[in-house]
């Protein structure tokens, strides 16, 4: 924590606000900002089941960068690493609601759960139907039998894509919820951190790691993982992570999966591609087919260095949604035919 952390910002206390303005401008007219810290799609058709995502800021482009075609309809945005208030959730929800109910999709953290739940109760009082699916993909956070204690990490992106496409194409909230739950049931992730990130408002690193240490299973806010150890080779680290991830569902020969290698912030694409190479070797050995891959920077923890690996088991329906085109400031992909 010796060095001051250098960031290109104005007043850190206004950073989230200014970022949201910058984000809307980057969307070339496809999103707009509400009076509160929330971003919504400029055009949401009547009668559409709405998808509201959100959470603390500091993980950009997650969440607010994922508002767009076949992705979220709106995002309720908190301050750095802090869930949005119920007020923001409520306003964002009202702005995206088109009479068919709203699915709340966000990462499973005590703060998010409480704030989104209060928002949902406010909406229920007004007769707006809300369902909630929480992302609990981090296998490092709790054993499988305590799934509800698991954090949401990079798998958020895959969920937002599948559920976003489902919410754009299915007529009923029930159905969208069903797809979201199915996708979530087959989703597993794990991260590794090599350097800490920092919150601008405090200027402090969120954890300390020795110069030769890494932490396997580190959470997206610097929460403790499952093993602090000496930096090994990419292959060793990958093997260790894949073993945990594959055993957890478990993934099996014949499974088809979506693979996501995500940069926690400051890791180079080169490192991620080297890890991808090893992940694919392991999957090939196990007879697991990769239906589609994504390698990039989507769910970050400020400038934390490290990466995460996510696998989502797919069936025909989930593949169909994942193969649909996506467009947002933070993630775009062409249709796969």
């Amino acid at each position: 924590m010796a060095k001051p952390i250098k960031k290109i910002l104005n007043d850190p206390r206004r950073a989230v606000d200014e970022m949201l303005d910058g984000l809307v401008l980057a969307s070339d007219g496809r999103t707009k900002r509400l009076a509160v810290d929330a971003i919504v799609k400029s055009e949401i058709p009547d009668g559409k089941v709405a998808l509201l995502i959100g959470g603390g800021s500091g993980h950009e482009p997650l969440f607010h960068g994922f508002i767009g075609e076949n992705m979220g309809d709106g995002a309720a945005c908190g301050q750095f690493f802090a869930a949005p208030s119920p007020h923001i959730v409520y306003e964002a929800a009202k702005a995206v609601h088109r009479g068919k109910g709203i699915l709340f999709l966000y990462g499973n953290y005590a703060g998010d759960n409480m704030n989104f739940d209060i928002g949902a109760e406010m909406l229920a009082d007004e007769g707006v139907e809300v369902r909630t699916v929480r992302v609990t993909d981090d296998v490092a956070a709790a054993p499988p039998e305590r799934m509800h204690d698991r954090r949401g990490i990079a798998g958020d992106l895959l969920m937002i894509r599948v559920v976003g496409a489902a919410a754009a194409h299915l007529d009923r909230l029930d159905e969208v919820e069903r797809v979201a739950k199915k996708a979530m049931a087959g989703l597993r992730s794990m991260g590794v951190a090599v350097l800490a990130g920092s919150i601008p408002e405090t200027g402090k690193l969120t954890f300390d790691l020795a110069d030769d240490e890494i932490e396997i299973g580190m959470g997206a806010h610097g929460e403790a993982g499952i093993s602090r150890q000496k930096l090994g080779t990419a292959d060793e680290i990958t093997d260790q992570m894949m073993e945990k991830i594959l055993a957890d569902l478990p993934f099996q020969a014949g499974d088809e999966v979506a693979l996501l290698i995500n940069n926690l912030g400051a890791t180079t694409m080169m490192e991620m591609l080297v890890v991808n190479r090893r992940v694919r070797q392991i999957l090939a050995e196990r007879g697991i087919t990769v239906h589609r891959s994504d390698v990039g920077t989507w769910v970050t923890s400020q400038e934390m260095a490290g990466l995460s690996i996510s696998l989502m088991r797919l069936d025909g329906e989930l593949k169909r949604y994942l193969d649909m085109p996506s467009r947002s400031v933070g993630y775009s992909s062409l249709e796969v035919k």
Partner: protein
């Protein structure tokens, strides 16, 4: 001291100042076992309390409710929901009351505790602010005057903070630390003890 609605607002302003004075300590406590934002979250919440209480609404319950809404809408994170609930749900204890009685104060703490338990889904022992709030509610019970009640509550909350050091977190961002959370106090518990300490100081006046 007789705490009527005007003084209730003054008291909560004193609470806000006390919290704002300790922002860095709260951040450091949260850096140790959480994500390091508790101080800045509480700052946002209690700066909003200061703002809203520049023109306090009428009624003690109105004052507490307004403070609670300010916290709830501006803090964010777990703390926003939890400390917001303390004041919004606890406010009912003062409905139609002209002053804060020792019984009213205990009812406030008890209602707050119930609300936080429901909202957060955890009981005492999970290493949260409940471990300051719940003992405070018990310690204040039966006190014959508000001064004694707030003093007992504040003292119990402080002991509660001490007690959280020995606990293994089972909720919030500290949960994943498991046994490594032992030795550190819970940031939210510290906040709760600051709030109650400021109430005691105000009442002692």
């Amino acid at each position: 001291m007789r705490v009527d609605d005007e003084r209730a607002a003054e008291m909560l302003l004193a609470v806000a100042r006390a919290v704002l004075d300790r922002v860095d300590d709260l951040t450091d406590a949260d850096l140790a076992i959480g994500d390091g934002d508790h101080g800045i979250g509480m700052r946002r919440g209690f700066e909003a309390v200061e703002l809203v209480l520049e023109n306090p609404p009428s009624g003690i319950d109105g004052v507490f409710k307004a403070a609670g809404m300010a916290i709830m809408s501006n803090t964010g994170g777990a703390a926003g929901a939890v400390f917001g609930s303390v004041f919004t749900s606890g406010a009912a204890a003062f409905a139609a009351q002209e002053e804060i009685t020792p019984e009213g104060f205990v009812e406030f703490l008890t209602a707050a505790q119930g609300a936080v338990q429901r909202r957060g889904g955890v009981a005492e022992g999970a290493k949260t602010m409940l471990d300051a709030l719940a003992p405070a509610a018990r310690a204040a019970a039966g006190a014959s005057d508000l001064k004694t009640a707030t003093a007992a509550a504040a003292e119990a909350a402080l002991q509660g903070v001490e007690a959280t050091k020995a606990m293994i977190a089972t909720t919030g961002k500290a949960r994943s630390l498991g046994e490594r959370s032992v030795g550190h106090p819970d940031p939210g518990a510290i906040s709760m003890s600051i709030i109650l300490g400021a109430m005691r100081d105000y009442v002692a006046g």
